[in-house]
Symmetry: C2
Subunit: 152 residues, 2 copies
Amino acid sequence: MLRMSKLADYGTVVMTYLAQRPEAVHSAMETATQVHVALPTVSKVLKILAHENLVLSSRGAKGGYVLARSPKDISIAQIIDAMEGPIALTQCSSDDIVCEQEASCSIRGNWRKINEVVRSALQGVTLDNMAQPAVQPIHMYANGLKQRRAFS
Amino acid sequence: MLRMSKLADYGTVVMTYLAQRPEAVHSAMETATQVHVALPTVSKVLKILAHENLVLSSRGAKGGYVLARSPKDISIAQIIDAMEGPIALTQCSSDDIVCEQEASCSIRGNWRKINEVVRSALQGVTLDNMAQPAVQPIHMYANGLKQRRAFS
DNA sequence: CTAAATAGGACTAAAGTAGTTCCAATTGAA
DNA sequence: TTCAATTGGAACTACTTTAGTCCTATTTAG
């Protein structure tokens, strides 16, 4: 019902992989192989994560990526934020514009509460948690994914 | 960060409007006017909601829509589900296919937990709650939205 | 019978996303 | 000093989804 982009999904996968050996430097190549996702895609993901300071990068031969912080200090919320970027609230967020949808406007405040619940739930899940093997049997929740992951 | 479609957004707006006078029959026309959204769009939304049994419809002159249940028995989760539809988990959900992304697969189980938290949060918010005027000042959280609403 | 409504489907246009590719900049090591 | 291994960054293409509109059939009150 709520969704996250595929890239954000890859983001969590990649980060979880890095979290398995947080001290080592992992090249995009190596990561791609281990995670079974195409190299260009993994590269793109890592570049974004580096740009958002969730991983540190080093260039040149023997370069690669490392987690910027301890796995227990990186939340899923942060990763999704990094990958999807903040979505700009336009128009109505600037005060001088009169909202055209008054009826719906009165509802927005409630959405905020919901957001906070959702967000705090996601902030509560760290890479550390993710690295622990899942309780559920493998394969069960992987999606053949068309485009997005569903929060069913 | 997580997103819902604009239609789902309209869905909650429309449903909240209907919830203000749950006993009355509201035509698409009337609703569109009150909610300040184009008629064809509101029609589409109401048709979907009717099809999903969240509202009851009556045709012909003096026809229109009514909430199918009491506002306190309709959750935001149900509305979003109705508007976005279940997103089919393909491939991996059928047992005989071997998952190609084992590394990420081991993570899926955790996603399930997250889903449940998110979902239960949304199930906890009813139309009844939405109808109560928001605490926050108007205009502040409405988005000029490009395409989707952000769960920031 | 007619006007007011919904039902349902088809359709168009726009937007967003995924994924690839290319080239520049770095850097370790022979 | 030169080469090879890497990341940085941006541009681009193809694809999918979504939004929104419109047309026609059906239903029903008066």
